[in-house]
């Protein structure tokens, strides 16, 4: 496999984590424009722990996920009191606040005689754990792929469980769910924390793949795309967001067939799908049809 294919596949994998975190909130009935913030929290936390404090990447990833979960839980506490568009706007505002905090973050330490660490708008260079441990791009793609498969597997298990039915019930009709005794607010807070952890995992992997991060990496474009991928791919299964990422990064971008017009095509695709298939290509009806056909 050449460097280009490796890069495209790794990016598809990395983007899938943040798209899945947006999807998780969507099936619980909440539209977040702010998942990029928790992706950024993971990227910065993981990078600081490996580059400045010498933590091994797996441990740093776990810590970053915990921090991502905590961050989104704290944001969700006040914002989940809002509904619909107001919640979406609040998540976007929170994400912009996070990005500005990254711009103000200066956490420099001398490593082998050289200053390293986040330096505000100058970014954070030298996240070199992967490079220093001799992990080749092909192996890194394997790590991203295995982690993504584990996450998707977990989604599939949850979606077939009582918890999955509860989440979809809350997403479809929160009043009805509350009427049958479900603590809607508590479940949504749990979902928010899980979504934060998932986005943070993607962020850690991204930071170590890229070796460099900066606040602008985590602006609204990333949030809008991750949400769009979930909506395009479909809300019927966890494969939906992956399909969305694959369509944009894997087909529109990589083939260069629409070079220069990709964003127009992508925006048009989102608009058309929202009209004709508001719950995406792999919506609940399509997933049911596929299950019936192949079971």
């Amino acid at each position: 496999m050449d460097d280009y294919a490796l890069g495209v596949l790794t990016n598809i994998g990395l983007f899938s984590f943040v798209a899945l975190s947006a999807y998780l909130l969507l099936i619980a009935g909440e539209m977040s424009f702010g998942q990029q913030a928790f992706f950024g929290v993971g990227a910065y936390a993981g990078g600081i722990l490996t580059a400045l404090y010498g933590w091994p990447l797996p441990l740093a990833a776990l810590a970053a996920m915990a921090l991502g979960a905590l961050a989104q839980f704290l944001v969700a506490l006040p914002t989940l009191r809002l509904r619909g568009l107001y919640f979406a706007m609040a998540t976007l505002a929170a994400a912009e606040m996070a990005r500005i905090l990254f711009e103000l973050l200066h956490w420099r330490r001398s490593i082998d005689g050289e200053l390293a660490g986040p330096d505000g708008t100058q970014g954070f260079r030298g996240i070199r754990w992967i490079f220093e441990h001799g992990i080749e791009p092909m192996h890194y793609l394997g790590i991203v792929g295995v982690l993504l498969a584990l996450v998707v597997g977990l989604f599939l298990v949850v979606e077939r469980s009582k918890l999955g039915a509860t989440l979809r019930g809350i997403g479809q009709d929160p009043e009805l769910a509350a009427a049958v005794g479900i603590d809607v607010q508590r479940v949504k807070l749990g979902v928010a924390a899980a979504a934060g952890a998932l986005a943070a995992l993607g962020g850690v992997l991204y930071a170590h793949h890229n070796t460099y991060i900066e606040p602008r990496n985590f602006d609204i474009m990333l949030g809008v795309h991750s949400l769009a991928y979930a909506l395009i791919g479909g809300l019927g299964t966890a494969f939906g967001p992956l399909l969305g990422v694959l369509l944009d990064i894997g087909v529109l971008e990589s083939t260069r067939f629409f070079q220069g017009y990709r964003m127009i095509v992508f925006g048009g695709l989102v608009a058309v799908l929202l009209v004709f298939r508001p719950r995406g290509l792999l919506d609940e009806r399509m997933v049911l049809w596929i299950r019936q056909r192949f079971s």
């Binding site: 983007f15 070199r128 474009m221 990333l222 971008e253």
Partner: protein, 120 residues
């Protein structure tokens, strides 16, 4: 010079430094670039240089095909053609193998005239 500054200068002497100059080819978003690599003030020759690029404002979404740089005519000079997707700021990633193994990330603003280091 204090001790810290002395050690810093020693480290910087070992860290490869890169400079990039690009000119448009006439084809949309395609640039011919010249990369100058130095280490400790001396030209770094014989390196295997692969050039990649990513847009900081849209990470992971623009996948430029990595270009293998070829040695130029001057010591420490390497040539590569970059086929970008649009104008704007790009993070140019240089992967060095051979006598020195390293990863360098440079930020350049690409416009119709060429490329210049990003102002921050």
């Amino acid at each position: 010079m204090d001790k810290a500054a002395f050690f810093l200068s020693l480290v910087l002497a070992q860290t490869p430094q890169a400079d990039l100059r690009c000119v448009p080819t006439g084809e949309d978003f395609v640039y011919d670039c010249s990369i100058t690599l130095t280490r400790g003030g001396q030209p770094l020759e014989g390196a295997d240089v692969t050039v990649g690029a990513d847009m900081p404002s849209m990470p992971m979404a623009h996948n430029m095909r990595p270009a293998k740089a070829t040695p130029g005519t001057k010591p420490g000079e390497y040539k590569a053609r970059l086929d970008l997707e649009m104008l704007g700021e790009w993070a140019i990633k240089l992967r060095l193998d051979g006598p020195v193994r390293d990863l360098l990330v440079l930020h350049y603003e690409f416009d119709s005239k060429g490329a210049s280091p990003s102002k921050r």
